[in-house]
């Protein structure tokens, strides 16, 4: 220090260094450097890295979720269209089946109707036949009675009687024609 004071004759030269200050300067700076390098910088860097990671991770996650959603949407759409197609097929099938059933029923009904008609025809024919037979008998009896009354002749013989009636009826039918 005395050297420094001498340098500018009373007013010390401010450009000349002091040994003590140089030593302390190096030591102080060195200590601070060690603290910063060993502790402070790594911790801050760790926080920075964690933050970057958090932001990056969040973005990645969001992207993944979006992709997932997109895939689900495509899947749903696919399923929906498949379901629609299926429904269409079912409807078509049902229509075909329905028309088949209707056709079948109609055929059955027609058959039934035909059967009923035929039965009716048969029964009418039978009744007519019966009517004709009974009419013929009655007409025969009446006619014989009438004729016997008129002629006064008892026609007891059954065979002869029916022969006469038949002839009469045949004549009747012929004359009708």
């Amino acid at each position: 220090m005395s050297f420094t004071l001498l340098a500018a004759g009373g007013a010390p030269n401010p450009l000349l260094p002091h040994t003590a200050e140089i030593v302390v300067g190096f030591v102080a700076f060195g200590l601070l450097y060690i603290v910063m390098r060993r502790r402070v910088v790594p911790m801050f860097e760790k926080a920075f890295a964690a933050r970057t990671e958090a932001i990056q991770g969040g973005m990645d996650r969001a992207e993944k979720a979006q992709l997932e959603a997109q895939r689900a949407l495509v899947q749903y759409n696919e399923q929906l269209s498949k379901a629609r197609e299926e429904a269409q097929t079912l409807r078509e099938e049902a229509r075909v089946q329905g028309s088949a059933i209707v056709e079948e029923l109609r055929a059955k009904a027609q058959e039934e109707a035909a059967r009923i008609t035929a039965a009716a025809h048969a029964s009418i024919e039978a009744e007519r036949q019966q009517a004709v037979t009974s009419l013929r008998n009655e007409v025969g009896t009446l006619a014989v009675e009438l004729a016997s009354k008129i002629v006064g002749e008892a026609l007891e013989d059954q065979a002869r009687q029916s022969r006469i009636v038949d002839r009469f009826l045949d004549d009747l039918e012929k004359s009708k024609k």
């Binding site: 009373g10 010390p12 030269n13 002091h18 040994t19 200050e21 300067g25 601070l32 910063m36 801050f44």
Partner: protein, 262 residues
């Protein structure tokens, strides 16, 4: 010291502050390791260590207020001074740049902190220390990166220059790399702090002196004080700026030493 000036002022008129006011006597006996600047330097190391250790202790993704404060300074040095200037190898130098910036900043700001009011970097010894370290770092980095011969060749014979120009350029380059750079970086810091402190002393002590003069002078003295206060804020700007410049230049020198072309 103040009483000394006042005493003189009463006796033989105003004695302007000089470089004498920067030569503070040892506090304990005549042990040169007990001066105010040395205590301030050590105090700054403790202050910075405690602050940044607390700020980074529980460094997490969502920062606390303290972490945010420390982290902002760190991120500024790391990205704006390190990454921007040095390039992809910047991470190796971030601890050095960060220590440099905070160390200079705090010691400069001591100049306007009440009760402390002494910018430690106005002692040239400390400025020299930092200049020497930066000088060593950037040459070491250059030699490690290029190999000693290529590094020296690049300095002595700057590539891409016509040969006759070397007569002029080589001495300039040698002077630049060996003398000018470490000297100017130290002197710039020292001189700014020295001059700033001197300026503040002139206005504050001058104002005090005027207060003891005639009535007319007493009326002028508030202006001197007001100017002193205004200059204090100006000093704050200079102090931050000088810390920035020193770190910026260090980063530039390191970046230059790492660059493949000059």
């Amino acid at each position: 010291m103040r009483s000394l000036v006042v005493f003189r002022a009463e006796g033989e008129g105003f004695v302007p502050p000089s470089s004498k006011d920067f030569e503070l006597p040892p506090i304990f006996g005549d042990n040169e390791f007990t001066t105010k600047p040395i205590f301030l330097i050590l105090f700054s190391v403790i202050l910075l260590s405690v602050f940044f250790l607390m700020a980074s202790r529980k460094a997490s993704v969502v920062p606390s207020k303290l972490q945010f404060a420390g982290e902002s300074v760190y991120a500024y040095v790391r990205n704006d001074l390190g990454k921007e200037i040095i390039g992809h190898e910047f991470m190796r130098f971030v601890p050095y740049l960060f220590t440099l910036f905070t160390f200079i900043l705090v010691n400069n700001i001591f100049g306007i902190v009440p009760l402390i009011q002494f910018p430690t970097m106005s002692r040239i010894s400390f400025a020299y220390v930092l200049g020497i370290i930066t000088f060593g770092v950037f040459h070491y980095v250059g030699i490690r990166h290029h190999g000693i011969f290529k590094y020296m060749k690049d300095i002595l014979f700057m590539p891409g220059v016509p040969k006759p120009v070397y007569i002029l350029l080589t001495p300039i380059e040698i002077a630049t790399y060996l003398v000018v750079r470490p000297l100017t970086i130290s002197l710039r810091l020292f001189a700014n702090m020295f001059a700033g402190h001197l300026l503040l002393m002139i206005f504050i002590l001058g104002g005090e002196h005027l207060l003891q003069g005639a009535v007319g002078l007493k009326l002028v003295s508030p202006f001197a004080f007001a100017f002193g206060i205004a200059l204090t804020f100006f000093e704050l700007l200079v102090q931050c700026l000088q810390a920035y410049i020193f770190t910026l230049l260090t980063a530039l020198y390191i970046g230059g030493a790492l660059a493949d072309e000059h």
